[in-house]
C-alpha cells in the first residue's frame, strides 16, 4: 500500500497555523470523504482501502460516527482560523468503494456537511460508484439527498482485461448503472484504465467505444501503474504478467484522445474529458488550482492555505484518535514559496488552459529556453505561447512531467 509522505508531526488539536488563512477569500473550499471499504481488493490497487477481514473490528457504523466527529473537528479548526464561515463548493466521496455504504449513510454524511458548513449554490456533489453496488433506488436516494454526479468505475469492457485487473463487476451492470444514474438526474462519469498486461490496442478501442456508447457526460482514462507492494507488482516481478510499456501507454493515450474527441468530448486535464464546460469535475479542478480542501477519513490528505496534512492511515488508528477527541492528522507540511511554485507548475500544466509564461519566468528566469525547445518539438502550442500562455499539445501531454522538470530548471 502506498506510503504516506514524510512531514512534521501534526498537532493533536489539529489547529492550523495563521498563515493558512492568508488569501482564503480567493480560494474555494472543498470536501473529500474517504470511504476505506472494498468487498475485495483489486490486484493493481494500492489505495488506502480494506476488506472486512483487514478492518480490525472497525465497523461501517463506527467508521461513520468517526467521520462525523472529524466533520465537527474540522468546523472547529476552520472557525478558529477564519473570521467567517466558509461553505463547501464541492463534495466528493471516494475510496475504496463509497457505495459499499448504504445510500442513506452517504446522504447522512452529506447532510452533516450541509448543517455544519453549508454548501454553495450549485455545489457539485460526487460519489465514486462500483457498478455492482448501485441500482435505481440507490441512485435516486443520492439524488434526493443532493448528490449531482456519479463516477462509475468501469475500467474496461473486455472481460479478459477485467480479470487481470481483478475487477469482479459484471460489465453489463455498467450500462445499467449509467442508465439509472441518468434517470435519477445525475451527471455521469466513467473511469477507464488502459495498458493492462495483455490488453491489445483493439481491446482498448472496444472499451472506449463501449464507454462512448453509454453517452456519459465525462470520461476519465488512466494508464495502469504497477504500484510497489501490489499483487500486480508481484505478478510482473515473477514474470507472470508483462511489465506495461510506456510506448504501449502512449499509443493507447493517443487512441483515447482520438476516439473520445471524435465523440464530442474535450480534454480539460491530462486524464479527463468532458462533454461540456458544465460537466467538468469542479472538485478535481480545485486540486489542480491549489484551492482549499479538507480530506476526511483515514489516510485522507487536506490542503488549506499552503498547509498540507494527512490523516493516520488505518481505520482503527483513525477511530482511536477521534474517540479520544484528537485530530486524526498524522503529519503535515507548510509549503514555502518555492514548493508552492513547484506544485503550481506541475498541477496547472496538466490543464488545458495551461500556465502563464510570465509566471513561469518569475520562478525561472531561464524558462524561455526550454519553452523554445518545446515549441520546436511540437510539445506546446506555438500560438498560445506567443500570446503568453503555455498549453500542451497531444505530444506534450504525454511528456508533461519531463516538461515540468525542464521548466523548473
Amino acid at each position: 500500500m502506498a506510503q504516506m509522505p514524510d512531514g512534521e508531526i501534526a498537532p493533536r488539536d489539529g489547529l492550523l497555523p495563521a498563515s493558512a488563512a492568508l488569501g482564503s477569500a480567493e480560494r474555494t473550499l472543498h470536501a473529500y470523504l474517504h470511504i476505506p471499504f472494498c468487498r475485495v481488493r483489486c490486484g493493481y490497487c494500492d489505495y488506502n482501502t480494506y476488506t472486512s477481514s483487514e478492518l480490525q473490528g472497525v465497523t461501517e457504523n463506527s467508521f461513520l460516527n468517526n467521520l462525523l466527529r472529524e466533520i465537527t473537528l474540522s468546523k472547529n479548526v476552520l472557525e478558529a482560523l477564519h473570521s467567517e464561515q466558509r461553505k463547501f463548493s464541492t463534495v466528493f466521496f471516494g475510496g475504496g468503494t463509497p457505495t459499499q455504504l448504504e445510500a442513506e449513510q452517504l446522504a447522512l454524511v452529506l447532510e452533516t456537511l450541509k448543517s455544519e458548513f453549508g454548501l454553495e449554490q450549485n455545489a457539485e456533489v460526487t460519489t465514486e460508484a462500483n457498478p455492482d453496488t448501485v441500482d435505481e433506488r440507490y441512485l435516486n436516494t443520492l439524488a434526493d439527498a443532493g448528490f449531482t454526479r456519479v463516477s462509475i468505475g468501469m475500467q474496461s469492457s473486455v472481460s479478459s482485461v477485467l480479470k487481470i485487473l481483478d475487477r469482479t463487476h459484471n460489465p453489463e451492470n455498467v450500462a445499467k448503472a449509467v442508465a439509472a444514474a441518468k434517470s435519477a438526474g445525475l451527471q455521469v462519469s466513467v473511469d477507464l484504465i488502459y495498458g493492462t498486461p495483455g490488453e491489445s490496442l483493439d481491446d482498448w478501442r472496444e472499451s472506449l467505444a463501449t464507454a462512448i456508447d453509454l453517452d456519459p457526460d465525462h470520461i476519465s482514462a488512466y494508464s495502469l501503474i504497477v504500484e510497489p507492494g501490489t499483487k500486480l507488482a508481484r505478478q510482473v516481478r515473477s514474470g507472470e504478467l508483462a511489465q506495461p510499456s510506456d510506448d504501449d501507454h502512449a499509443d493507447k493515450y493517443e487512441i483515447a484522445e482520438q476516439m473520445i474527441a471524435a465523440a464530442g468530448f474535450d480534454w480539460y486535464e491530462i486524464c479527463n474529458w468532458s462533454k461540456s464546460p458544465a460537466t467538468v469535475s469542479r472538485h478535481n479542478l480545485a486540486y489542480w488550482r491549489s484551492n482549499d480542501w479538507w480530506g476526511y477519513g483515514p489516510g485522507a490528505h487536506s490542503h488549506v492555505g499552503g498547509t498540507r496534512w494527512w490523516n493516520v492511515k488505518h481505520p482503527s488508528a483513525y477511530a482511536e484518535r477521534l474517540v479520544a477527541s484528537e485530530s486524526p492528522a498524522l503529519a503535515r507540511e507548510n509549503l514555502d514559496e518555492a514548493a508552492k511554485a513547484t506544485e503550481r507548475v506541475l498541477l496547472e500544466l496538466r490543464l488545458r488552459e495551461g500556465i502563464s509564461i510570465d509566471y513561469l519566468k518569475s520562478i525561472n528566469p531561464q524558462a524561455a529556453k526550454p519553452i523554445s525547445h518545446f515549441i520546436a518539438d511540437g510539445m506546446v502550442n506555438a500560438e498560445d505561447a506567443i500570446r503568453g500562455q503555455l498549453t500542451l499539445t497531444l505530444k506534450g501531454r504525454l511528456l508533461t512531467d519531463a516538461l515540468v522538470r525542464d521548466l523548473l530548471g
Binding site: P5, G7, Y253, I270, N284, W288, L346, L399, D401, R405
Partner: protein, 619 residues
Amino acid sequence: MSPRATSRLEPAKTDPGMIRNFCIIAHIDHGKSTLADRMLQLTGVVDDRSMRAQYLDRMDIERERGITIKSQAVRMPWEVDKQVYALNMIDTPGHVDFTYEVSRSLAACEGAVLLVDAAQGIEAQTLANLYLAMENDLEIIPVLNKIDLPAAQPEKYAEELANLIGGNPEDCLRVSGKTGVGVDLLLDKIVATIPHPVGDPNAPARAMIFDSVYDSYRGVVTYVRMIDGSLAPRERIQMMSTRAVHELLEIGVSSPEPEITKGLGVGEVGYLITGVKDVRQSKVGDTVTNAQKPATEALVGYKDPLPMVYSGIYPIDGSDYPNLREALDKLKLSDAALAYEPETSVALGFGFRCGFLGLLHLEIVTERLEREFGLELIATAPSVVYEVTMDDGKEITVTNPSEFPTGKVKKVLEPMVRATILAPKDYVGVIMELCQARRGTMIDMQYLGEDRVQLRYTLPLAEIVFDFFDQLKSKTQGYGSLDYEEIGLAEGDLVKVDLLLQGEQVDAFSAIVHKDKAYAYGVMITGKLRELIPRQAFEVPIQAAIGARIIARESIRAFRKDVLAKCYGGDISRKRKLLEKQKEGKKRMKMVGRVEVPQEAFIAALSSDGEKKGEKKGK
C-alpha cells in the same frame, strides 16, 4: 661467511677505496625488495624488531603493488677480511615508465646485482635495465633468487644468464631473499668484484642527483652521488642546470633512517636538504656544485622528463575542481615528471590535461589523487603526442584528440617505440598476430634459451597505450612480458574520429586512430553510447564522423510518455517530492546540447576501453 661489521666508516672521511656503490636490477616481483630487506638485517642497519617488510618501498601504493616507484639509497657496513667497507645500495625503479630515473640511478653505481627469479627467468623489463647497466659499464653480478621455491630451476636460468652476459653458469649466485640463504656471500662478492668509485677529491664539488623526494616535514630531500670534491653542512650549493643557489641545511646518509653527517666525500652517496619545497628545483640528473667554487662542467646525462602519454582528468563532482587543482599542485611537489594544465570539456566540465611518463605513471597519479586526496575522478582515454603539419606548413602539437586540427593536414607524426616481448615459444604466433593488428613491424626474433623467445617490434606508442599489455597478458596466459623504449616519430595515416550526440561533438570521445581502424572505432563507440544513454524526450542520433563524413550511426529512440496518470489531492505532495528528487538527480547529468547524459554513462564508456587496469599489476 663474513661477520657483521663491528664498526662503521665515518661518512665524509671514507676512503673511496672502501666504498662500493651498487644497485639491484630486477623485474617486478622477482624479490628485489625482500632481498634488500635481508641485506639491511644482515648488515645490522635495521634491527630485527623494527624490520618492516620491504623497508625501502615507502609509499603504500608501492608496497601494495610490490613495485618501486621512487628509488632511495642505503649505506650499510660490511666486513671482509677484517676490513670494514661501506656499501651503498641504490634502489632503482623497476618499471619502463621510469627509464630515465633508472638510468640516473645506474649512473650513480659501479656495479649492479642482476636479480632473476629462479622459477621464472629473466623478463623484458629486466633485459632493458640490464642493457642500460652494461651501457654504463657497470660490473654485473648475476643472482638467482627464490631458490627455496619448489618450482625453481636454477640450472636452466643460470645457463640463460650466462648466455646473456657471458661467463659460466656456475658464477651465478643462488640466494633466497625470503630465507636469507646466500645473501652474505652476495655481500662478499659485491665487495670483491665491484670497483670502488674514483674521483678527484680536490676538484670543485660535483654531485649527481639521482633522486628527489618530497617530504611534507622536511621539504625536498635530494639524493646524490658525489663524483668529485666534497660537500659540507651550511655550504651554499648551486644547481648547474638552473643556476639556482640554495643553502645546505642538512647533509647526511640514509642508514636507512637519515643520519646527519659532516658532509659527503668522493664516491659517497647521501642526501641533501635545502628547504626547497618543490622537486622541480632539484631535478633528477642535475649536477650539484659549490656556489663559491663552482665546477665548470656539469655531469652528462641531464634531461627534463617529457610526458609521453596524456589524459584528461576530471572530478566527477564539478565542485571538486579546486580540490583537484590543489591535489595536483601537491603531487607535483614530489613528482617532477607530472605535467598538467587546465582544460574544459563540453562533456566533463572543468578538469586538467595531464601528461605522464607512461601508463603506469598515469595509474599511480590517478590512484594517489583518489586515495590521498579523496577525489572521485574520470580519466579520459590515454592519448599520445602527435605532431601535425598542415598544408600551409604550420606545425601543431596535439596532446588532446579533440584539438586535432580540422583543416588540410599534410602529415601527422606519431611517437614510435621499440617493444621487446619475452614469452615461451608456444605463444609466438599469437604475439605476432597481436603486434600486426597493432600496426607493428618486426625487427627480429631470437631464442633466449630452449623455449623462451624474444621478439622485437616497432610499434606506434598509441597502440600500446590502448590496452596492448592486457591483450598480451591474456593471449599469453600471463607469460608474456613487455618492455618498450621511445625511438622517435614516424608518419602515420591517422585520422580523428569525432563522436556527435544530436549533432554536438562530445570532445571526451574524440580519438585519433589509424584510417583502417576508424570505422571499427566508430561502430564500437556509437554502439556503446546507445546502450548507456537513457532515452530522451526526442530522438537522439549518435554519430561517429571523420570531419564531415559520418562513418557510423546509431540512434536512441525518443521516449513518448513521461506523465503520472493520476494527480489528485493525495498525490500532490509525493509528486512534488519526486520532482525535487529528480531535480537533484539532474545535477549529476551532463548536458550535451539538449541531451542529458548521466555521468555514469561517460565513466562507463571511457573506462571500459580507456584506462585498462592491467599494466599496473604487472606480473
